[in-house]
């Protein structure tokens, strides 16, 4: 395979809860999954090299970019992106912007800095929009729901929700090749008249928008039913949906574990494994930054190697469908 047919994913190995070794291990697992993948690992060089050696990485498909600084959750995102010029995230974003072979970026550090940096480095004058953070969740019908926004935009205006609807719709076309993704608006009732001021005003705009497939309001109980492919809401509500879903899934799984231990039935443990594989955040990859010129994925701060592997896989799949989205 020549270099031109390979795709490069940039991975910022710094800033996560579990440290560079876990991120590099996930990157190495992703390399095993995809023969056309190259990873560009950005961060502390000695930590990267040690982890690569430990995992027996195919070095012909690894690039290392050493950096000396890190942006942490204690840094002010805007100031850090502007001032910490040798931070791993700043370098990673620069590489992604400037190298046409690079198809996306994974980061498990500061969400605020990632959003600010993505907007600064990956936007074109005249087309610049406020980025949104989306999550792709498994739906009852076997498909997926793109929930947008999940926390980047807490206080929203109707125009922002309309923007999220378009961004989510485009993402689902690129990622899952859906021709006409169904777009729903999270509300406290399916009827058009339900919702707070923001939802009611947004509903009126989306209803008239012929460029997307708006299917109306969606209640929380149907958020993951598959009635819509894109579920639009402000970041406050989206964050509650996301974390509440995680919490309920964990609660049910733990109840089944308890029951399985009491009854000694092995089939229940198989069910637990299936549910963990389906609903654990490490299985689902990360949050997607929408509204930028190249894909950027925010992995969970506590992401393990499986999460990084799945996140890189998302970018590989996206690159195979379409290299660049906005």
């Amino acid at each position: 395979m020549d270099d031109k047919s390979k795709i490069t994913v940039v991975i910022d190995v710094m800033g996560s809860d579990k440290g560079p070794a876990t991120i590099v291990k996930g990157a190495c697992q992703a390399l095993e999954d995809s023969a056309d993948l190259v990873v560009c690992l950005v961060g502390d060089e000695s930590s990267i090299k040690a982890a690569l050696e430990e995992n027996g990485a195919p070095m012909d498909r690894v690039r290392i970019v050493g950096t000396t600084d890190v942006i942490t959750n204690y840094d002010h995102p805007v100031a850090a992106i502007q001032k910490k010029t040798d931070a791993s995230l700043v370098k990673a974003l620069t590489i992604l912007r400037d190298d046409p072979a690079c198809v996306g970026l994974v980061n498990a550090g500061s969400t605020g800095a990632l959003l600010v940096g993505s907007m600064m480095f990956l936007s074109n004058p005249g087309e610049r929009v406020r980025p949104a953070l989306a999550a792709v969740l498994p739906a009852e019908n076997g498909g997926f729901v793109c929930l947008v926004d999940t926390g980047a935009n807490i206080d929203c205006l109707p125009s922002m929700l309309v923007q999220f609807a378009h961004q989510g719709s485009q993402f689902m076309k690129d990622m899952y090749r859906l021709e006409n993704p169904k777009v729903g608006l999270l509300s406290n009732g399916a009827e058009e008249t339900k919702g707070n001021k923001l939802v009611k005003e947004t509903h009126l705009v989306l209803k008239e928008d012929k460029t997307i497939n708006f299917v109306g309001n969606i209640e929380g109980t149907n958020a993951l039913s598959g009635d819509c492919d894109v579920l639009v809401c402000d970041g406050f509500a989206g964050n509650q949906v996301l974390k509440n879903s995680e919490g309920i899934a964990r609660r049910i799984i733990m109840d089944i574990v308890k029951y399985a231990k009491q009854t000694g039935e092995p089939k229940f443990m198989a069910l637990v494994q299936h549910l963990m594989a389906t609903y654990d955040f490490n299985s689902l990859g990360g949050g997607i930054v929408l509204g930028v010129t190249k894909p950027v994925i925010k992995a969970h701060g506590a992401a393990n190697e499986a999460s990084i592997r799945n996140t890189v896989k998302m970018l590989v799949n996206l690159a195979h469908n379409k290299n660049i989205y906005v």
Partner: protein, 77 residues
């Protein structure tokens, strides 16, 4: 000139705001509802509209603060 360009920038960042009510006293945060990400977007749009780069992170409170900053940079009313 400055105010006209600013109106375009602020409308772009917040299309829901009634731009006819804009004045130098308008607060970017409380009146226009801008958070730090929106302020960053405003700064980038100002850079493009006026053709310069901020050398330091900026934190404007009101539209008047932006106007005064731009005047100090040499831009004309």
């Amino acid at each position: 000139m400055i105010m006209e360009k600013l109106e375009v920038v602020l409308h772009k960042v917040n299309p829901d705001f009634d731009i006819s009510t804009l004045s130098e006293e308008t607060s970017l945060r409380s009146d226009l509802g801008m958070d730090s990400l929106a302020m960053m977007l405003v700064a980038m749009e100002i850079e493009d509209a006026f053709g310069f780069r901020f050398e330091e992170p900026v934190d404007f409170n009101t539209v008047g603060d932006v106007v005064r900053f731009l005047k100090e940079k040499g831009f004309k009313d």
